[in-house]
Amino acid sequence: MNNQSETNNPLDPFDIMNTMRDANLKTWKSMRDANLESWSKIMIDMVNSDEYSQATGQWLDTYLTLSQPFKGMIDTMMTQVLTGMNMPMRTDVSSLAERLTNIETRLDDQDARLDDILNAIKAAAVVTGLTERLTNIETRLDDQDARLNDILNAIKAASVSKPAADTPAKAKGAR
């Protein structure tokens, strides 16, 4: 923590005080650590005892017994409030989440099948010597993909600018 040893002078009262302070601190720390260690051993023995297991189990049981009715009451109240407000309840959200997971699972199945098909095509291509043609087809598919993206972007751009021009006419028509 400090560099007292370099400047120690046995006749300097401050040096003596510094040395004493450092020694006291060191002693205090080692005492603290020793105390903690023995305390830790006692606590570990305690939590590993049957008595502690029993006490914790009983405490938890009491807590759960007492809290269950309150939880039930809050759940019922929340259900009534949300139903009254025509809002979805936790069960509704959970049910939607479950359906989403099912959709994800089916998508994953389809992904696996597509991989299988692709692998089968690749294998077939190797067998029939069609690898080169397959690569060409893939390249052309990529090109078409890029062109479709361009068209999509162009349509999007057009649809963004169009409403501004149409608005007065639409408004007029509506009247």
Binding site: M17, W39, S40, N48, D50, L64, Q68, R90, T101
Partner: protein, 361 residues
């Protein structure tokens, strides 16, 4: 706190006060903010429900990389970024640098709609799909699977149920598998007490709250976890390396997630109480889990100071599997410290790397 040599001058007193202020700020920062964790570059390659599969961006050229991909499965009740805690203290970063194609399955935090998820779902729905993706992306039919803690239970069950699915190497870390000794460790004692009712916990909460599981883990070593950890920080406030390491670990320790209710019931009843896995009586979706069907090369890593999964819970699997190539490795450290502590780089990771490298070509 006062470290300045006597006699104190106004300047040294001012320095001392500045130091105290700085220490106070450090203390406040590390105890109230989140450290930057999980920084090794990665991309999500697959998702299902809350689960995500990450692939870590390789840093070694493809021709120098190990051929067999390395798939990591962490426990269900904590975040998996403990495997990638911070640069320089990250198992994943280390393995990526050693030339592995690393994949990590993050189970995510189960919501109320996931309370019925069981080991059956994790092992037979999530794992096979994630593994399929690992194989598709890596282009390898074989893979190595590492499971840590409850992740090791899942990996073991998977390896026993699907031994022909390409699993070449099975690595288990601090795996709680054998609960024959009902007095070994606090967890086993607590959950075997007749007043402990897991059904009631699940009926009340649905999913078991992360705080409850965290309390259980911390209560096993109360003085170390509730006092010792903070004293270590206090004693080392002037050491940025220790402070930042503490901050990252504290971020992980306090980042809790719940455990799906049905999985918790299976864990307590089928494993901790009835010890069905090691006795060959565990049934997963109608299939009996027979550990002797495991033929993959097996590395079983045990932490000598593990208070969560005592060594007796992890050792016996060695005699149950059919793997001809198997190694039981005992390393220094505790349940988490073994892989994420300051000694991991010296005592654990190189051993895992050297074992796996020889079996990844």
């Amino acid at each position: 706190m006062l470290d300045s040599p006597l006699p104190m001058t106004p300047a040294s007193l001012q320095n001392e006060l500045q130091q105290i202020e700085e220490n106070y700020r450090t203390l406040l920062r590390v105890s109230t903010s989140r450290a930057k964790v999980g920084q090794t570059p990665k991309q999500v390659i697959w998702t299902l429900n809350k689960a995500k599969l990450y692939r870590y961006i390789p840093v070694v050229p493809a021709e120098q990389r190990h051929k067999v991909p390395f798939f990591l499965v962490f426990a269900l009740m904590n975040k998996p970024y403990i495997l990638d805690l911070r640069p320089g203290n990250s198992f994943i970063e280390y393995m990526v640098k050693q030339g592995y194609d690393v994949y990590l399955l993050d189970w995510g935090a189960p919501g109320p709609e996931d309370k019925e998820l069981k080991f059956d779902d994790y092992v037979l729905d999530y794992l096979p799909r994630a593994i399929r993706k690992v194989k598709a992306v890596s282009g390898s039919d074989e893979f190595s699977m590492l499971g840590w803690c409850i992740g090791a239970i899942l990996a073991t069950i998977y390896a026993a149920l699907r031994p022909d699915d390409g699993i070449k190497n099975l690595l288990l870390l601090t795996a709680p598998l054998d609960f024959t000794d009902k007095k070994a460790g606090g967890f086993v004692r607590w959950v075997n007490d007749k007043s402990f009712d897991p059904e009631k916990i699940v009926a009340t909460f649905g999913n078991v709250p992360g705080e409850m599981i965290d309390y259980g883990a911390k209560a096993l070593k109360p003085v170390e976890n509730y006092i010792g950890s903070y004293l270590t920080l206090w004693d080392n406030l002037n050491n940025p390396r220790i402070v930042e390491s503490w901050h990252a670990m504290n971020t992980w320790v306090t980042d809790l997630i719940p455990m799906a209710g049905a999985t918790y019931l299976q864990l307590i009843k089928d494993l901790y109480r009835e010890n069905r896995l090691i006795e060959g009586k565990l049934i997963i979706r109608g299939e009996q889990v027979d550990l002797s069907r495991i033929r993959a090369n097996l590395l079983n890593v045990i932490a000598l100071a593990d208070h969560i999964s005592p060594t007796c819970q992890s050792e016996s699997i060695m005699t149950k599997v059919s793997s001809e190539d198997q190694l039981l490795l005992k390393v220094k450290g505790g349940h988490i410290g073994m892989m994420a502590g300051s000694g991991a780089l010296k005592f654990t990771w190189p051993h895992i790397d050297s074992w796996l490298a020889a079996r990844s070509e």
